[in-house]
Amino acid sequence: MIHNIPYLAAVALAIIGLYAVLFKRNLIKIAIGISILESGVNLFLITLGYRENAVAPIYTNLPEGTSIPEGMTLPVPQALTLTSIVIGVAVLALILSFAVKIYQHYGTLDSREVRGLRK
């Protein structure tokens, strides 16, 4: 069980994020929830790429005696995580700009009071 703690952390983050998205009423808190959900998934992705006692897959000044490729962590999950982090930033920026605009129109960030669609 102890060896699965990094996965546990990632999944816990994802569940916390999901909770915030589903149950919080404040639009900014929903945005925070989505950000946490994404961090959880990103953490999960990067933990999949770790090899025990391995170094980063970079040849510049590589420590002597590193076995190639067993002594290096997997490069692909790191690239994927970079991509998904940037996507997360983009989504977050757009959500926040929507929230700002909604606040301008309705004067509130409470999703129960934002009901222009259900007149």
Binding site: A56, P57, P75, V89, S97
Partner: protein, 89 residues
């Protein structure tokens, strides 16, 4: 009623996510690493870069990075569109 449905969805998804970590392989011991090993071994002579991660980002999976740059471009265009100043009001 609605709240109970949301709670059910939340509980189901939490259970699904937790059940993954119980069945997943141990941390730090990847199962099949053929693609990554190929990249580590060949990144230097195929792309000429010392950093295998950069060679994945811009060469082996360069199309993903183009997509990622596009996502950022889209978000900037979206933010500037939504918050444009002289949208007639």
């Amino acid at each position: 009623m609605n709240k109970i449905a949301i709670l059910m969805v939340f509980i189901i998804f939490s259970c699904v996510l937790i059940s993954t970590i119980l069945t997943l392989r141990p941390f730090g011991e990847p199962k099949s690493t053929e693609m990554d090993d190929y990249i580590i071994k060949n990144a230097q002579n195929e792309t000429g870069a010392n950093n295998a991660v950069t060679s994945v980002v811009f060469d082996y999976r360069g199309f993903d990075t183009l997509g990622e740059a596009t996502v950022l471009f889209t978000a900037v265009a979206g933010v500037l569109l939504v918050l444009r100043r002289n949208a007639h009001e």
